[in-house]
Symmetry: C2
Subunit: 338 residues, 2 copies
């Protein structure tokens, strides 16, 4: 059995895959939220100078990726792999960004778990010596997601209070082996979990069991102490899913309450910005990580963080075919350690 | 710079990631084609006992995966990662299969390049010691792909002669470190290439430049001899794309004509089965590799093979927004070597 594996699901990375740079680009609404000071670029219009929302989203993720590379003085030609994806069919935003960036490309789909999925894969490929530099990132856009998964915006549909608001935002990280900076120490990859929720307007409840399963697996595998973390952040469970996760983990003997938050709860002022249960979308944990969390790690205000991006793998077709919602969550532990 | 990297794009795998098992499940039409004797299961009805084509596709890929594990006496619980995806929005078939298989899941999207994309990632994760057993596979289904990308089947649309026929099929491989069997020795990951083709009924011409770019990169990186291969097989370029690839590589000084074929050309009798330029879809290179090529490798009738699965990353939305078709191709070299 591989010496890098711990317990049933966790991998320990031994060659210090380091996040040497990160960048976040967000939309106007996100730029008015509580984390506004942490984002690299706040766009002032949802179209971002493009002719469609889809290509605005593509430009956001391309910009976040170029920015992450620029910020640390690297060049796109130095990057061995680009690992990314998004919510939009056929990964339209990421595929077109990859065309412009001209870096060997692995397209991934994990719905809103994509940021952590990309960082899991990137950190293993860097740790294993298969690449010297990997760029990973993802995006979402309120208007593209609503159009694809729900209703035309022009309908002005009302949402139930369990619903969340898809973040318009993109985040990107650049990972290199054994460098100076916060490094990825453990990853726990998620199984697809489906506890029978079929309501696409209650994603927090649908995704919480996947987050619980992955977080529990991490602590069970490593025997780590939740209170040794400065922050455990789920991706986009929102207010309701966060409460479910905290409660159920507590019942299973894992008390994360003192260090736990959810990126979807943090990115908006839930009441003032009228976003019901909070933010969602691939861009939620991506921009909160690449903006807020990464900058706090750099400043040593955080020294040990777990990011658990959560994804609902539903499709409009599976919903029409009366299926419940399969979900997945991947965890990465990032530390400041010599 | 990493010692595992050769030239600009190629990785040499040093710890013998071995394909210890493979299985292919195909539809009735594919089961009447020239490769029928090589497939593990030929289903006799496009619905495969399910209520929708999407869930028939999901059952096909789940069956191919279970079969690959069963055939070599392993258990699903022994598998550390499942890496897969398909053409259908939100990876519906793969996501629902992953729910049933309960293995930590990386969803990927590379359109019809998915088989090689999964094998690239799997072989690196195995080679790097991050897993002891990885299951990778993909699927496509004529009826789900037509419904999503083209027209309702009930319209009975005629296709131009440049069009291809989406394979109903699934293929899966099980990869372990340093075992007995054909092993993955090199991988070359593709960049996203777009030479301006916008006709979704001429995928061969759209994807050929991506195949050319990746195959050229492999030979340029390794200085390998095309005639040292028993077979170089592109994924699903069809008759036209195959000719373009052969011609343009020849102009660039790489003559693969003596050993070159395309899975889309092989899987059907093009004229008798009325499939115009040939087969396409993720399931094309997946079932041809997991069926025909893998069995020939096991029998030592092939000892060195390159599989180059090719994907067109177009989306119905990008087509409506008048964009051209970005494409990608990934190459893996599989050898029988001690």
């Amino acid at each position: 059995m591989s010496s890098k594996r711990i317990g049933s699901r966790t991998v320990r990375l031994e060659n210090k895959p380091t996040i040497i740079s990160a960048a976040a680009v967000v939309g106007p609404k996100e730029g008015e939220g509580p984390l506004k000071e942490y984002f690299d670029i706040i766009i002032d219009n949802d179209l971002y100078g493009e002719k469609s929302w889809e290509f605005a989203e593509s430009k956001m993720v391309e910009t976040a990726m170029r920015k992450a590379v620029d910020k640390c003085g690297k060049k796109l030609e130095d990057v061995n792999y680009l690992i990314g994806g998004d919510l939009i069919n056929q990964l339209l935003p990421s595929s077109f960004a990859a065309r412009e960036l001209s870096i060997p490309f692995f397209g991934i789909y994990g719905a809103c778990s994509t940021m952590a999925e990309g960082m899991c894969l990137s950190s293993m490929l860097i740790d294993g010596g298969f690449a010297d530099l990997i760029l990973s990132g993802t995006s979402s856009h309120y208007c593209t997601a609503e159009r694809q998964f729900r209703y035309p915006l022009e309908l002005g549909n009302q949402k139930p209070m369990t619903a969340q608001w898809t973040v318009t935002g993109a985040g990107s990280v650049l990972i290199a082996p054994n460098a100076k900076g916060p490094r990825i120490k453990y990853i726990t990859v998620g199984k697809v979990i489906d506890k029978g929720i079929s309501d696409g307007n209650n994603m927090g409840a649908a995704m919480a069991p996947a987050a619980i399963d992955t977080i529990y697996a991490y602590f069970n595998d490593t025997k780590d102490d939740p209170n040794s973390f400065d922050l455990i952040a789920t991706g986009d469970l929102g207010k309701l899913g966060k409460q479910i996760t905290e409660d159920f983990l507590n019942k299973k003997g894992i008390d994360i309450s003192d260090v736990y938050t959810d990126c979807g709860v943090e990115i908006f002022d839930l009441e003032a910005q009228d976003v019901h249960c909070g933010g969602s979308g691939c861009g939620c944990s991506a921009s909160v990580f690449a903006g807020y969390i990464y900058k706090k790690l750099l400043k040593k205000e955080f020294n040990k963080v777990m990011l658990v991006s959560t994804g609902a793998l539903l499709s409009p077709t599976s919903t029409l075919q009366k299926q419940t919602i399969p979900c997945v969550a991947h965890a990465i532990v990032i530390v400041n350690e010599e």
